[in-house]
């Protein structure tokens, strides 16, 4: 390769170019605010429409315009949805990040870039295939308006790429027509730009590259939705009527999706009046206060927030625990502590969610692995909060919440009834049923409550965060306080029977090795286990946690294995901490595999961590 070649459309690679069909990673490097997100999404959707599973990830800064942003697509006919290390095709549209973008390409990989301005040879690598297209000059020649230049440039490169890696242009045309339905001019303009790019590539670029797409049937009936939207739908189906929230990345889109779905599904058809109330509060303290007020008064209510919000809400969460008031918090985790990396993912709120607030407290957590479970757990959380009369957390993270994912279609059983928990009615009170707000009458430690305004003379009580007796009368008597605290512990045991069970998958052959994981780590696990088997010959039994408190199946799993790898995305092994604390198991059995740089965990990372422990001097290095 010589400097003068740099401006040429194609430079050859010194290593054999990667050849792959339906199994590679494409990454777009863009500048945020340039309109690239919708073009990139179009690209991903087109691949899905060809029946090929694709998992996109939006990597973005805490900024609105001008900083680097990436959109990474894992294309995998095998269905691997975890992030993968290395890039096969880099679409480098951002000079700011050029060096690191070029560096991230795997040997034999491909670089697509805008060669309007020549770059010195030192800016390239010899072991990759470089494909240049004069995108800027080409677009500027075709469009005069600056905004058009920016937007259509994105569609033009989608067109060029469609020729390079073989995306059916008809599929993209259809998607554009759906996106701009009713705006025919816009559709025509986009179609034109798409074909301009495509025609240029066919005429001037080395189509096709070694990376190829071929129509497949691996998507099935799965849908493509982000976890926040699915969780919001879950809340809607779970009967939530009050949403109080304060904007915070990466949770804002959950409340916004709830607003959208309520507009569509929750308006009275005759009057247009709303069977929901959404309040953007002044802060997280007010958000959770409103949720607790609504829950106290019998409405299903939730807030959506992230780590900093949980810190602020902690006092109220303790009130909910002690005064026994239903509330639901969707915590979409990001990298902490403090403001941390607000647009990067992590599983670092596990500890605070489990034990938030001063005094002795613990709270049920639901840990969805994908959008489908976000929906299921979103609905379930409302039932659990009412049943257990406490705060229930649905713990997502940015990776699940803000990225669209292929997931099983959402399902609802119309015969399902919302479980409102133990609420004493006016008739029961009138009939003389004894009402003690904190009286355990059924032996499950869950007392009855009444909604305010139920009966003229019976069932009224005073809710407080101070100590009281079984009939909600204020007391500072130590024995009454202790009785109540012990009942709350007993209620925790009841909670264990109501939470979703952990999912166990055993290896083909018996093994004393196990792996425990949860949430957004899930998609990387099957692939990691394949790599471990390849590298070490070992196989592991798996346990995916879906909730806290842990059910007996978790204790059984821990007891049945000699070494258990606990894979998490935080520094301090927070779930391991909960396992040791709650199960009182031998900490030495639980080996930490921790990933916390803000990027989603990869199969390679997990495999390296586990393989190194199983076989400290690996027979052969992992292919890298």
């Amino acid at each position: 390769m010589s400097p003068q070649d740099a401006a040429q459309p194609l430079m050859g690679s010194t290593v054999p170019p990667i050849q792959a069909v339906n199994d590679f990673v494409v990454k777009f490097a863009n500048v945020n605010g340039s309109g690239s997100a919708s073009a990139n999404q179009l690209f991903a959707k087109a691949i899905l429409r060809m029946g090929i599973p694709v998992t996109p990830r939006n990597i973005f800064p805490s900024n609105i315009q001008g900083l680097p942003t990436w959109y990474e697509m894992r294309i995998s006919d095998k269905g691997h949805m975890g992030a993968r290390e290395g890039v096969d095709l880099m679409v480098a549209m951002n000079p700011q990040t050029w060096d690191e973008d070029v560096k991230s390409i795997r040997p034999g990989g491909y670089l697509f870039y805008d060669n309007t301005k020549p770059l010195p040879a030192s800016k390239f690598r010899a072991d990759i295939t470089v494909v240049g297209m004069p995108l800027t000059s080409f677009t500027n020649a075709a469009y005069a308006v600056p905004r058009e230049r920016q937007l259509f440039k994105n569609i033009i490169y989608v067109g060029a790429l469609s020729a390079l890696i073989n995306i059916d242009p008809k599929v993209i045309e259809d998607l554009l027509a759906e996106q701009f339905r009713g705006r025919d001019k816009l559709i025509a303009a986009n179609h034109k730009a798409l074909h301009m790019g495509r025609d240029y590539a066919l005429a001037h670029l080395p189509c096709p590259l070694g990376l190829q797409l071929a129509a497949s049937d691996k998507v099935g009936d799965r849908i493509f939705i982000d976890g926040n939207a699915a969780a919001a739908l879950g809340a809607l189906y779970g009967g939530a009527t009050v949403c109080a929230w304060y904007p915070i990345t990466p949770s804002s889109s959950l409340a916004e999706a709830f607003t959208r779905y309520c507009e569509r599904y929750r308006k009275d058809k005759e009057t247009g009046k709303k069977r929901y109330a959404i309040v953007q509060a002044e802060d997280e303290l007010a958000s959770i206060g409103m949720v607790i007020g609504a829950g106290w008064n019998g409405a299903r209510a939730f807030t959506a927030t992230s780590g900093p919000g949980i810190s602020l809400m902690s006092e109220f969460i303790g009130l909910s625990y002690f005064a026994e008031i239903p509330a639901v918090i969707f915590d979409v985790q990001r990298s902490g502590p403090s403001t941390g990396m607000p647009t990067r993912t992590q599983q670092s709120d596990i500890k605070i969610c489990a034990y938030a607030s001063h005094g002795d407290t613990k709270h049920p957590l639901l840990l969805p692995e994908d959008p489908n479970e976000c929906f299921q757990f979103g609905a379930l959380s409302m039932d659990l909060a009412d049943r257990l009369q406490t705060t229930v957390f649905v713990v997502l993270d940015l990776e699940i919440g803000m990225n669209e994912r292929l997931t099983a279609p959402l399902q609802w059983d119309d015969s399902r009834k919302l479980d409102r928990g133990k609420v004493m009615t006016s008739d029961e009170l009138q009939a003389g049923k004894v009402f003690g707000r904190y009286l355990d009458v059924d032996g499950d430690a869950i007392p009855y409550r009444t909604y305010p305004g139920t009966h003229p003379t019976k069932g009224g009580y005073f809710t407080r965060g101070t100590s009281r007796d079984e009939f909600a009368r204020y007391t500072e008597a130590g024995d009454a306080y202790q009785r109540n605290m012990e009942r709350l512990l007993k209620k925790w045991d009841t909670a264990k029977t109501l939470m979703p069970k952990a999912v166990r998958t055993d290896a083909a052959a018996p093994t004393k090795l196990g792996v425990i994981y949860y949430g957004s780590t899930s998609p990387a696990i099957p692939e990691a286990l394949e790599l471990i088997a390849e590298q070490t010959g070992a196989s592991l039994n798996q346990l995916r946690l879906r909730a806290f408190p842990f059910g007996p199946e978790v204790e059984e799993f821990v007891d049945a294995h000699d070494t258990i790898f606990v894979v998490e995305q935080n520094r301090d092994a927070q779930m391991r901490m909960l396992l040791i604390n709650e199960l009182e198991c031998n900490p030495k059995k639980l080996v930490r595999v921790l990933h916390y740089n803000g990027a989603p965990i990869t199969a390679e990372f997990i495999a390296r961590g586990i393989a190194a422990h199983i076989n400290p001097t690996p027979v052969r290095e992992a292919a890298e």
Binding site: V219, N297, P452, G453, T457, G460, E476
Partner: protein
């Protein structure tokens, strides 16, 4: 044990209101506050106001924060649901409760520490939102339960019990409430039941955010020489702009006053406020004039009391949000859950 049930000794000849309730039916447990505490007078005024308006006690929800004032909901409306929440956070809890069931009457009781210091934000935003509530601040200028520290409503120059002077500017809660869009704003004095009871009645009948700042001397920590929240000081500086009567629909309105000195304001829900003007030309529906008047009189060292501002046709949060009439906590599964068919359709749009 601090819980003291009040003996149920109902006198057979106790008067009953239109609903057949006696005054006793609106009472709560025996107060555990200090003897002579202004807050107890406010509790008594609340009891009388609810009794006289014939409100069904169980249809009132009483909420408070933390502090002496926030303890008082135990001492009135014993058959009502009460909620003694978190310090400074009563407004958000009340807002959520109100969203869940718009049919109840919401009474928020708070103090100056609770609402002007730790909860100043929540106080402000609940007012801004127009939550339909009666928000009473029992204002004594000090933290009573922690033994006498200044609160944010203590006047600059006021002295505490040990003679230390407060150097911080005071927050004038009625001024703030008017500025933030409260639609019924009054100030009163716990020592003036004749003024306070009608003001509470008017607030309970008001649709929207009603705020009453009630100066309520703390006999233990702020009733000394040099205090500007003592009984003596408030009596000396109290300047009422009007005297109000609340007329319920059944009473005949008799005009037996000089024209121009009395004004009738009809609130949205039909309740009538009969105002006898004490300050000339004070128009209770003129928000800007009210703010101006308050500032002018404050500069003169007067404590202006009475109904200071009212928008009789105010809208509330439910109105702004366009929520359905039926309380959310009574909605059926069918009214809440869109069902499997809607979900199948949605799935189809996500492929």
């Amino acid at each position: 044990m601090t819980y003291l049930p009040k003996p149920k000794l109902a006198h057979p000849e106790l008067q009953k209101n239109d609903l057949g309730y006696t005054r006793r039916d609106y009472e709560g447990s025996i107060s555990t506050l200090c003897a002579g505490c202004g807050h107890d007078s406010i509790s008594a005024a609340i009891i009388r106001a609810c009794y006289e308006l014939s409100l069904p006690p169980h249809r009132i929800a009483k909420l408070s924060g933390i502090g002496c004032s926030s303890k008082t909901p135990t001492y009135f409306l014993g058959n009502s649901h009460g909620f003694n929440s978190v310090h400074g956070r009563m407004p958000s809890v009340l807002t959520g409760a109100n969203l869940a069931n718009r049919e109840l009457i919401y009474l928020g009781v708070s103090g100056d520490g609770d609402s002007a210091s730790i909860g100043f934000g929540q106080f402000s935003h609940s007012i801004r939102r127009g939550v339909n509530m009666t928000y009473i601040v029992e204002n004594n200028g000090v933290y009573g339960l922690t033994k006498g520290q200044f609160s944010a409503t203590a006047d600059r120059g006021a002295k505490n019990k040990r003679g230390v002077e407060n150097m911080d500017e005071a927050i004038d809660m009625v001024g703030i409430a008017i500025q933030l869009g409260a639609t019924y704003v009054a100030r009163s004095f716990s020592g003036d039941k004749n003024q306070l009871v009608p003001l509470i009645k008017g607030a309970l009948q008001h649709n929207g955010a009603a705020f009453i700042d009630t100066i309520s001397p703390c006999v233990m920590f702020n009733n000394h020489e040099g205090s500007t929240k003592s009984y003596d000081y408030v009596r000396e500086h109290n300047e009422a702009v009007n005297f109000m009567d609340v007329v319920t629909g059944r009473e005949e309105i008799t005009v037996d006053y000089e024209p121009g000195t009395t004004e009738i304001v009809r609130q949205h829900n039909g309740g009538l406020l009969k105002l006898r003007k004490l300050a000339n030309d004070y128009d209770v529906t003129d928000r800007v004039a009210a703010m101006n008047f308050l500032e002018t009189r404050k500069a003169r060292g007067e404590i202006v009391t009475g109904l200071l501002y009212v928008d009789p046709d105010a809208e509330d949060l439910h109105g702004y949000l366009e929520t359905a009439e039926k309380p959310f906590n009574a909605l059926t599964d069918e009214e809440l859950v869109p069902g499997a068919a809607a979900l199948a359709k949605l799935n189809a749009s996500l492929r």
